[in-house]
């Protein structure tokens, strides 16, 4: 069976762990519990008619207290770049993180996940900017780990993109 390593990247408290838990275990916990270090989960998905084992690396969010080690990305085929649109800064942080990833890994498949779509009224990001990123080829998806909206689609799209990406 094909196996692909995918990483969850983004600032702290954007919902990376919650997205993985929703995807792998169909669970959502309202209480925010910060991640220390790395958690690795696996899930088999169907993509482009094939079964793919996604090895999901849930990396701790970056901030002044924890920095991401680029060595964790070794062997990564793609990544979900997660932001919390109610916090404008998380988009900036994500884009800066993406620059570092591209420097190290080149342009590999990625999906910008606008998490917390259940809190649309509180979104504070510049959607024009997101639209511009989309125009430039960045895959974008709105999701909510809380309601499940867009979660399966996000991981499936990434799996599909990773399969299609020339190795």
């Amino acid at each position: 069976m094909i196996q692909k390593k995918a990483c969850m990247l983004g600032s702290f408290s954007v919902g990376k762990t919650s997205l993985v838990r929703r995807f792998v275990e169909s669970i959502f916990d309202e209480k925010y519990q910060t991640t220390i270090g790395v958690k690795v989960d696996k899930k088999v998905v169907q993509a482009d008619g094939e079964e793919v084992t996604l090895v999901l690396w849930d990396l701790h969010g970056e901030d002044a207290f924890q920095k991401m080690r680029m060595s964790y990305l070794r062997g990564m085929s793609g990544y979900l770049l997660v932001i919390d649109p109610t916090r404008r800064q998380t988009l900036e942080d994500a884009l800066s993180l993406q620059e570092r990833v591209q420097e190290a890994m080149g342009a590999i498949p990625s999906i910008l996940v606008l998490n917390k779509s259940d809190l649309l009224e509180e979104w504070d990001i510049d959607l024009d900017r997101v639209a511009l990123l989309e125009e430039r080829g960045q895959a974008v998806i709105r999701a909510s780990a809380k309601t499940g909206e867009g979660v399966e689609q996000g991981f499936s799209r990434l799996a599909s993109a990773m399969l299609q990406f020339p190795v």
Binding site: S13, Q33, T34, I36, G37, S71, E121, W123, L127
Partner: protein
Amino acid sequence: MKSPSIYDAFLAQQGAALLEFRSRGVFKPLAALPDWFHALWQTGRRKSFRLVEKSPFLENFLADAEEFWNSRAPGAANSGNWIERDASGKEIPLEASAFWLEGKRVLLVRDLSGTFAQQQQLLQTARDSLLAHERLIRETQKKEILLHCIIHDLSQPLTAMRGCFDLLLARNLPPDIAKFVQTGHQESQRQEQMIRGILEAFSADLSGQQAAGADTAAPPDLAVCAQQAVEQFSPAFTERGISLVFDQSLDPHRNWRSVGDAPRIDRIFGNLLENALRYSPKGSTVTVGVEDCGATLIAFVDDEGPGLPTDASRDRVFALFGKGKDRPGKAGLGLYFCKMTVERWGGTIGADNRPGAGSRFWFRLPRAPEKSVAPQEAPAPAERVVRAPVSAGAPGESIEPPEKALRVLVADDNETIRELAVELLRARGHFVTGVADGRAALSAMGRAKPDVVLLDHEMPQLNGVETARAIREREKSSGKRARIIALSGSALAEDKRRALDAGMDAFLAKPFDRGALFQIVETPAHASIVASSGENAPLAEENTDLRAHLQRITGGSEKLLRSLISSFLADAPGKLAAIERAVAREDADALAASAHSLKGAIAIFNAQRSVSAARNLEGLGRARHFQGAGEKVRALKEDLARLERELRALLPQASGRRNARSTRTHRRTRPGR
């Protein structure tokens, strides 16, 4: 495997597994393995085993570890924390280190369960605090935006009111009528003062501006400010039988310049004097003065009132919404404003009981740096120059005609305010062209050839700043330079700075009165940035009778009334349609702009519900979300339909055609006296 030793006991106590790396992911235990290791990876009691298939994380780290071993570097390579789950689902936090030990490539894997919870709690607390701080900042920003919207809405009708009072006072009114109009003018001016005071106090506080507004070019003279405050407030004190005096021991030849800016110093003196007025008994004396304390100056207001309370409420004298127990002021903002302003300039403020009786309210400010003090009696800064006509041009008093007629271009999308400015300037004898947006202003520049251009800050097409930049760009080839004055409902330092940066010469805050308008339009080109008359107070009372309200703001002019209503009836449907289009397309910028424009148009009719509905839509646009927008549009439509019916009923006949006067150049006419 060796027999149990002290090393085994130590490793067991540490919850650690010590493994020797053999080759290709194969490890050999160097000591007894802890229970968690068996539970996790079920290696049994084999002498060697592969780990890489069991843990993707370890597999990844092994690449780093091998690199480290091959480098023969001292120390250790560390994996960082990671979490594994055993068969029961229990999470085990681990950390691995690779190093050389007695010629062996060794991997130490430790269970961090003992310290992990504490580490996580610490990090959790730090991040929760960060999130709470971010939320607080966002909430603060939202409130500030809301405050600006409210201030803007409150200010708009005032411009019209004061303009109408000015127009009325320019006529030959019977003395008894003139007195009423004069009172109306004064009250609207007071209202303006309060609105601006709130804006300054809160917005500066919320945005955390530091040392905002300190005038380094022409620092204020505290003694002059104190003396002017005494002159200004003397009538009010006299009326109450209190004597207000300027400290005669002060040496006027000394240098009394401090940091800060004169208008705010004036307001601080004003607030302290209002406070003294409330607490001073009849027959007492209030003394205002300044003392020299070397590097600092102390300004004071001494009263002979009951003195300060001795309980804890004394500490709240300068607090936000802090009010006296017996004779509270208005909103509890005055002394709070004083404190914030003085502290922003690096000063201190306080109040003490005086020996004998009464209290001293004082503020201490650093002296102005020598280099910023003018070597000779410099002309007052522009802001002060413009304030004078507010009283000189007070109701009922005649204002000297201008030395020469000017060509003036007025650009404001709010038709009412535009027409008032046009009418006032036309009556003054100037040639005036009115246009509704920045692009039209640029088109009109060629034919109007204005000496002075008034540009509203927020306009469709091109806003004031953009238009000013374009005008300045064009002037590079023509060699001619018009004076450009920014018109804005906000008088924040940031807005003024943007106006200056765009090449504007002066700044007139709305609402304005005719004195300030004339002065700023007719001020010679060297004047720098200027705030308007801007001394303001309370909210307009709810108006239930539309006819009476309109008669008041138009000064009873049937012509102006018809013009106002016709313009509104012609414009409102288009503005509403623009809002509907913006909502349908989820175009946030268009929604904010069109709702703002309609709100300004409705505000003049004091239709609070419609204004509120338009404001809500503007807020949605600015927040860039559309949930509930359709409902709000429907509510707005219903309110507008009601307003339109009422307005049509006021028109003597169906003369809904838009008055095109605002886009024509007006002939110069002298006002009748």
